[in-house]
């Protein structure tokens, strides 16, 4: 009970809510890093996955990317990213963490976007083509809207992974919420450690929940049980 009291005390201390080491700053850093990593991953993988899914090629590659992605441990990605960032003169902290997060986010987005487009009922696509829709129109008007739930699902998996892994950035002198955990561990400062863990866990759960809400809100009418 004393630990929980200490954690509450840590949160109550106004000093922890101010300045460049304060909770708000760390949350903003965490969201910036995660958001940028997911955005870069989307830009790199969604157009490719939409194209491959539409023409129906590259399924083998898309599925295998997902399996390789699972085999890449997050700390190993960070380990590979660090020398690259150093060699490029980008230093510690933000950049090597970003380099580690982008490849982590690509596999779920690439695979689920590919599958989402591929799994759209071929009869519907055939009917659209038969009525004279151009290929780009088929993709925009049929395949993307119908595949949206699955596409968002991939982005949700990627985002939750990225938010979780961004914590590790603190090991390479990054900011974000991992700072509290890594410092807490190093200093044996348990209130700070547990408070940091709590913040990271809440952010991860919040990411998961808000994606689920967003997916519900954007689900195409007619594809839910009660439209």
């Amino acid at each position: 009970m004393t630990l929980l009291g200490d954690v509450a005390g840590w949160f109550a201390d106004p000093a922890h809510w101010q300045g460049t080491h304060g909770i708000p700053t760390r949350i903003v850093e965490h969201l910036e890093l995660s958001g940028l990593a997911v955005a870069v991953a989307i830009v790199l993988s969604v157009p490719l996955a939409l194209y491959l899914g539409h023409v129906g090629r590259g399924g083998f590659v898309a599925i295998n990317v997902a399996n390789i992605g699972r085999a890449l441990p997050s700390l190993a990605l960070l380990a590979f990213a660090l020398p690259i960032a150093i060699a490029l003169g980008l230093g510690l902290g933000f950049w090597p963490t970003l380099f580690a997060l982008v490849p982590l986010a690509i596999p779920p987005i690439l695979t689920s976007t590919f599958v989402a487009v591929r799994e759209v009922d071929r009869d519907v696509v055939d009917a659209a083509r038969g009525m004279g829709l151009r290929e780009s129109q088929i993709l925009r008007a049929i395949e993307i809207p119908l595949g949206l739930p699955l596409i968002l699902d991939g982005m949700r998996t990627a985002s939750v992974n990225v938010v979780a892994t961004a914590t590790l950035g603190a090991i390479v002198a990054g900011g974000a919420l991992g700072r509290f955990i890594v410092d807490g561990l190093a200093l044996q400062d348990y209130p700070q450690l547990v408070a940091g863990a709590l913040l990271v866990a809440l952010l991860a759960v919040a990411t998961e929940v808000s994606f689920a809400a967003f997916a519900r809100a954007t689900a195409p009418a007619g594809m839910t049980a009660n439209p």
Partner: protein, 217 residues
């Protein structure tokens, strides 16, 4: 990681083969304990969920929350209670295996064709014999898919337990980061990926030998 220095210094690798072997052993040990314990707990939870279907949604919801909590945060919650110990590492690692394993065991058993179950019952199999001799063998493919994902994920997560004083190959990665020395970092990361790939291959072989009927045609 000073400019001009090669990414991997092979002389360091040659001088540290003993240590590298030790870390591989630790890594495997942490992984095997986690997956075996996870499997035992997951089977208990899955059987409970199959026997009492209203328990299944809360079981998966709980496992889902455990899975969503970032690994470093989960270890951090535990450290004040269980210290920088093997126990802390294993509680965290086991927690992450549960969701995929429970889900795959249950859906594997539920996907056994109803006519197969009906035929077995009609020929005088007892419900217990149906579970052990019909349903579990037929669910093995889906269960193995879960074991493979759980194993690969665990091998990756074991590296993170280096931060709480365990970690196997993660120890080499951390050493590299702390000493700003790329060789152990790259060796640790590469070997952990290689270990994941090798473990996956080994599991595929085990699965094939356990399921000869999937090899036909």
């Amino acid at each position: 990681m000073t400019p001009g220095e090669p990414l991997v210094r092979w002389d360091w690798v040659a001088n540290h083969t003993g240590e590298i072997g030790l870390r591989i052993g630790e890594h495997l040990e942490l992984t095997i304990i986690a997956v075996v314990l996870g499997l035992a707990i997951a089977f208990a939870l899955a059987f409970a969920g199959l026997r009492l279907p209203h328990l299944y949604p809360p079981i998966t919801a709980f496992a889902g929350i455990l899975y969503t909590i970032p690994s470093l945060a989960l270890f951090a919650f535990l450290v004040p209670y269980t210290g920088l110990s093997l126990l802390t590492a294993e509680i965290g690692l086991v927690s992450y295996t549960l969701l995929i394993l429970v889900r795959n065991i249950v859906s594997g058993i539920r996907s056994v064709p109803s006519e197969v179950r009906d035929a077995a019952l009609g020929m005088g199999y007892t419900p217990r014999a149906i579970l052990w001799r019909i349903e579990l063998p037929l669910a093995l493919g889906v269960i193995f898919a879960g074991i493979r994902v759980a194993t690969i994920t665990t091998i990756g997560l074991v590296t993170v337990t280096a931060l709480i004083g365990q970690g196997g190959l993660g120890y080499l990665i951390l050493l590299g980061i702390q000493q700003f020395f790329s060789t152990p970092l790259i060796v640790g990361a590469t070997l952990s990926v290689a270990l994941a790939v090798a473990a996956d291959g080994a599991l595929v072989l085990v699965q094939r030998s356990l399921m000869p009927w999937t090899r036909v045609r």
